[in-house]
Structures are given as C-alpha cells and as structure tokens.
C-alpha cells in the first residue's frame, strides 16, 4: 500500500508502470485519475485544494486498508495533490490490484466514493468572477450508503 499526499505533479505513466510491475499473482489492475475540470459558463482560472496535513495521510491509509480487506486487494496506491492546480491538471489517482477485475473495479469505486467525502480536502474554484468553495453534494454522501 502506498499513499502520497503532495503538492507536486505526478507522472501517471511512471506510477502505473511501477504499480503494475511485480504483481505476478494479480490478474487485474484498475486505475482512476481525477482531473481539474474547466467550468462551462465561467472559465476556471485555478483550483485551490486545502487539506489537513496531520489527518490526510492517516485517513486515506485507513480507507485503503479497509478497501484491501473488503476486496481482497494485492496492492493499492493513492496519490492526492493539494495546493493550486490549473484546468487539465491531474488532481489525484487511485490504483488497485486484485486477482480478478470485479474486485479491482469495485475497490477503485469504493475508494473514490470515500476520498470524495471522507478525506480532509477542501476545493476552491477561482474564476474571473471570484473564488468559491466547492460544496459537497447529497449524491456524494448517498454514494457511501451503498457500501
């Protein structure tokens, strides 16, 4: 298991390749990458992500551990950035390795649902009109209830 919380960009290809290497007993690897999305009506200048340094890594590691047990993962990787990001930049990635694809897909979805609502990050969108904190949605919270 590897959890990285960082301001720097990460190399998706290199991370994927390193994660995929050395898992001879794992038949499936699923990766998800989150990107800063531009806003259709009010172009995004940047997204600022605040986090709670003392808690972030610990909280993500606990989720990754839970996912590992629940979906029989052979390995899991989570990278999540903070700080100022521009549209099109990668915010985060999750990779899961399991013996079979269903577990790998489910575990990645589970981790994304939990990262969205339980990892201590707060996003703020900066546009020409000003800055606004991104609000959580009922859908985000409801997504957790199916687990």
């Amino acid at each position: 298991m590897k959890v990285l919380v960082q301001a720097e960009r990460f190399d998706l290809g290199a991370q994927n390749a390193a994660f995929a290497a050395g898992h001879r007993d794992m038949g499936a690897i699923v990766t998800f990458t989150g990107i800063v999305r531009d806003l259709p009506d009010d172009p995004l200048v940047a997204m600022e992500i605040e986090h709670y340094p003392a808690m972030t890594e610990k909280a993500i590691a606990a989720m990754a551990q839970e996912a590992t047990e629940r979906f029989n993962l052979g390995d899991v990787l989570v990278i999540h950035r903070y700080g100022r990001l521009e549209p099109g930049e990668m915010i985060m990635m999750v990779a899961t390795a399991a013996r079979h694809r269903r577990d790998a897909f489910e575990a990645a979805t589970y981790l994304m649902d939990y990262l969205k609502s339980r990892a201590p990050f707060w996003k703020r969108e900066i546009t020409a009109k000003g800055a606004a904190w991104v609000a959580s949605t009922d859908e985000d919270e409801a997504a957790l209830s199916r687990w």
Binding site: L115, K116, A119, W133, A135
Partner: protein, 81 residues
C-alpha cells in the same frame, strides 16, 4: 487544547488555529462556548449541520466527549477526489 479551522470556517473566524482553555465536556459544549465569544465565531458556527469535526485527527460526532482530546478541528464537509 489546539483548535483548528479549515476552508470557509477558517475564513469566517480569521485564523487557522488557536489554543483554547476550556472545561467543555463535549464538542457541542465547546461550540456553544466559541459561539458566545464574538460575532465571527457565531457566523462560523451558525449551522453545525453544515460542519464536520475531527478529534485528534479522527472524524467524530458533535456529542463526542473531549476528555483527553488534544486537537479539535472544525471544517465543512470534505470535497476530495
């Protein structure tokens, strides 16, 4: 204890962290104390249903006891991922 504020809670109160001397038994008691301090605290804690709390870096409920807790953090619902 150390009390930390994040995102718009931090903006409303105007500081990121502070030391608080309190006899509050629960998070809700602490919130009531803070709310009574100044208008900016009252604004930040106006609707606790819009807030989350962590005790020593673990998510907790507002009726949780503060006994032995060293760090309390208040913040809006998280928006990671």
């Amino acid at each position: 204890m150390d009390v930390l504020y994040f995102a718009w809670v931090r903006e409303r109160i105007g500081i990121a962290r502070e030391k608080v001397e309190t006899q509050a038994a629960t998070v809700s008691d602490l919130v009531a104390e803070l709310r009574g301090r100044e208008e900016r605290y009252a604004a930040a804690f106006e609707d606790v249903s819009a807030l989350r709390v962590a005790l020593d870096q673990e998510l907790a409920d507002f009726d949780a006891a503060l006994d032995g807790v060293r760090e309390v953090a208040f913040f809006p619902p998280m928006t990671g991922g």
